[in-house]
Every structure is written in C-alpha cells, then in structure tokens.
Amino acid sequence: MTNDTRDALEPEVATPATGFVSRVQRSDAWRSMFRHPQLDTPRGRALQSFSNFFLHLYPVKVPARVLRMRYSFRLGFIAAVLFAILTLTGVYLMFVYTPSPSAAYGDMQHLKTSVGFGQLIRNVHRWSAHLMVLTVALHMVRVFYAGAYKKPREFNWVIGVVLLLITLGFSFTGYLLPWDQLSYWAVTVGTNLVHYVPVVGGELQNLLIGGDQIGPSTLLRFYALHVAVLPSALAMLIAIHIWRVRKDGFAVKRSSVGAFEEAATVAPNAPVAASALPGAPPALYGDRTRLLGVVDRESVTAEERAVDDTVFTWPHLVARHVVVLLGVAAVVLALGVAFVAPLRGLANPNVTPEPSKAPWYFSALQELLSHFDPLVAGILVPSGIVLLLLLLPYIDRNPATEARNRKVAVIVFSVLLAAAVILTVIGTLFRGPGWTFVAPWTHLYLEL
C-alpha cells in the first residue's frame, strides 16, 4: 500500500516528500510519535489540535473575542507561566538545599557564593512567587468584574479560590526555607495565629509546626508541603480549572444581550440562537459547521449557526500565548538580575528583629492584627472572606454581567477590595519598628 504511512482519514493533499526532513517526517518511527498530518487546511489544523497532547489543553477553536488582550489580560495564563517558572527554578534550588536548621542557611550562602547562577535562580524564584500572588489576585478581581463566575461557571470560581489559597500556602511555606531572621519571625507570627482557632487551635498549631516552637520539624514539614504536597495539589487543580474553562464554555459576552453566549464552542446538541453580533467576522465555511473528526460523518447533525465567530486556537491563540510567555520570562529574568532576594542573618529564636513584618500579601492581616483581637483579625475576618468568596457564585444568583445591573455585588466587592488594598499599603509602606506609623518618604521598612 502506498498510503500506509499517512493518516487514513486524510486524502493525499500535501506535496509529495522531497528531501531528508520530509522523508524523516514520513517514516514509520516519526508517524508513531506524531500522528497528526502536516496539513495547512482547517481540517488539518483541527486534527493537529486533537492529536497533540499539549494543544489538547486548548479547544480546537475559540471565540474570536478570546484573542483580544482586553478579554482577560491573559492573567490566568500568566499565572500558569509563573507556576511553570517557579517549578523549574524550584527544582534547581532543590539540588542545593538541605531542609535542616543546621544546613539551610549555609546552603543559601553557598547558593550565593559558589553555585553558578545560584543567586539569580533564587532571585527569579522569589520575584516569580511575588508576581504569582499578584497575578492570581488580579485574575480573581478581573473574573469578578466580568461576572464570569456566574452560571454555568460557578464551580470553576470555587476551584479558583482554592488555587489562590494554595498559592498563598506556597508563599507561606516557602518563606521559612531560607531560615533567616526574616523567615523565622514571619512564620512564628503566622503559625501562632493558628493557635487562636477555636477548640482545635493548639492541636492544629502543633501539627503544623511539629512542636511548640519553630524548629527542625517545622522546617522539614514546610519543605515537604512546599515541594511535594502543594505542587501536586496545584497542578491537579490547574488541570481541572483549565479543563472546566473549556467544558463550561468561554465567558464571551454578546454585545447586545447581558447574558453570556453559552455554547459558542461547546454543546453541539444545543444550537445557538442566531447571534446578532454587529460587525462580526464573515462566515468562513458557509453557514454550517461539523463536529470535527471524532464520530462517523453520517451521524453528525449539522448545527445551524448564522455567524461563525470562532477562530482556530492553533496558531491564533497559541501564538499570542507564546508571546506572553516570553514576556513574562523576560520580566522575571530582568527582576532577578536587577534585585537581589533578601537574606537576613541566621534565624535566632531569642532575638526578634525590628520591625517584624509579614510579606506584603499578609500585611493587611498584620495591620488588622494590630487593631483587633487575634481571634477576630486573624481567624474570623480571613475565614469569613474566604467563605464569602467560595460561596459568591451561589449567593449572587443575578445573571446580569454589566456593572449597572449588579450594583450590590459590585459595590460590596469593591469596598472589600479597597479595604484590602488600603490595609496592605499601610502595613507594607507606612509601618516601622514596633508597628508604629512611619511615613515611607522618611524611611521605608519594606521587606520583600
């Protein structure tokens, strides 16, 4: 048979093989690795997406609006890129780090003085971690204001909140690992908070730090959480999160209607009503589309659709994502070159440094703690906010997505957001030794 090295579904469209590369690409070995045909036709592109593991993270086609920067500011993707960078740099750091109080601090100095690019990798790891917290938070804010958590995407919002908590857990556990004064006392304050949880607080704190003060078992526990438990949890949940973005449909708003267009790319058995997109791109393939390539052609029901506003993910969206990826990598590399990750003196359980500040994403909490009882500021307020966020899509059942039709939700969220930002700014920039008020232009007590 002359056909046996090609995809049986594909007619002979591509030009015949000439030259070494083409011959390799048509060999049995190559075809066993890469099953999709190299066809630059709509069908060929679709088959490439279907049969490529990495591209299958994406749908074959996405609504054209998804390509706009303004649609999502690519925040979710940026967070995923930062997680990838953190994994790579983190694995590198694991090769030179020993999670024991007698060795950890020495390893940090070793990293600085005698490991090639060690300090740079550590800097990149640290700045990426800060940026990841920021990006994940901004992603959540963006999704809220777009109203994209509403039906049918409620549960994906819940997964997103859990992802935010895991990201903070990463920061908190990673903070201890350098075993310097900064990490030791920030984690002392953080773990003592757990003590104020009603009834089980003391026991929880013991389980977390493995004793009644921060010591070798705390470091080992935080290390295990940081490099094994949290990464696997995060990777699993990110996979579900992305998968659900596809399954729940993209939150693409139709300009004429308040509600989202539900089924632009999914659910072929639920035909979309003729959309009245003014200025939508002209139909590319006539007025019908087929479900591509997974079922027998005869059994496919043609779906009536007035306008096809979708574009192929490959190359349109993937190319944009590659650009964002390179941009993010460039930014964290530049930050890593420009700013050195701080390393204070060796952790000393008998001397608390002045001032002892939490990292910026916890400084709102620390600011609250200086005003209210720890049970209120450290336990009730944060867990209340987390609970509110988790339940948000089930409390806010209003289907509208424009701000003017959901005033209460927007106002409540904006007030909470503003409070968090103000407390963070005060705690980060305006507090000095003894948590006294210090203007940042006289002296900046900022530890990142």
């Binding site: 304050v189 003592n192 004793g211 002045e354 002892s356 703690l369 209210f372 009882d373 003894g434 006294t436």
Partner: protein
Amino acid sequence: MEQNRRQFLLSGWKVGGAVLIGAAFYTAYEALRPLVGGAGGTKLKVGPPDNFAKNTSTYYPEGRLYVVNAKGDLLALSQKCPHLGCQVPFCESSGRFECPCHGSIFDLGGEYITGPSPRGMDRYPLEVKGDTVVVDTGTLEAGPDRGAKKYFEPPQGPSCIK
C-alpha cells in the same frame, strides 16, 4: 429496614471506604503529631535570690525566659509574646517589656499595659530551694488578665519601639 443483597453490598463498600479514609486521616495525624514537648521542661537553676536587685530583669536564653524582681517579688516570665509569639525584649530605658512585632507593652512584672496582646506575659513557677532560685520550665502558666496593675510603674524613660 429491608435491604436486598445488592444494596447491602453497596453500603458495605461505602462503609469500607469511609473506614479507609478515616484510617488514612488518623495515620496522618499520628505521624505528624509531635510527641515530645520542646520547651525543655527542665528545672533551671538561676543562682541565689540576692543576685536579682530590685526592679531589674535578667535574661536566660537557655530557658527562653526572664527572671525579674518587680517591687520585691521574683517572677519568671516567658519571653514569648502571648499575642503572636515574638520574642519580647526588655527595654532598659523605659524599664518595660516592649514587643517589636505589634507593639504590645508590659510592665516589669509582665502585666499588660497596651497593645494587641490578649493578656500579660506568661509565667513559669519559681521557687527558692536552699540558696538558689529554681524555675520550672515544664509548666507554663497563662499571664495575668489585662486589668492587672500590681506592678505598674510609669515609664522611666523613652520607649524602645515608639
């Protein structure tokens, strides 16, 4: 309640699954539970009572505690702030304990003056045995309530954190 064989087996699987999950949690709890108290728990000998002059504080890093002589009373105060566990240093200029983390201030006897701390500094029992003072670091007693004013004195000088 009537059950056929199929339903019985099905609930059997569920119960088995629940037991397995419970066992997993219990195993994790037992594995992570610290078995030894880290506070040492030893009796710390700190020398004859005459060593502690009136209205002074002496630091013992090996016990993570201060022995103070407040208005003639000898007290052993834990250095750990009852608020969130920072080490509370003694401020020589004001003659008070002042926590740098969140600004809690205690008088020489460890009683609460100001700040977010829920109570005064925690104490260890202390006794004079023969000619030496012995602190029992195995038992930590919760500090006095916020209202206590037994050892209160106005600050003797500028604060270290304000």
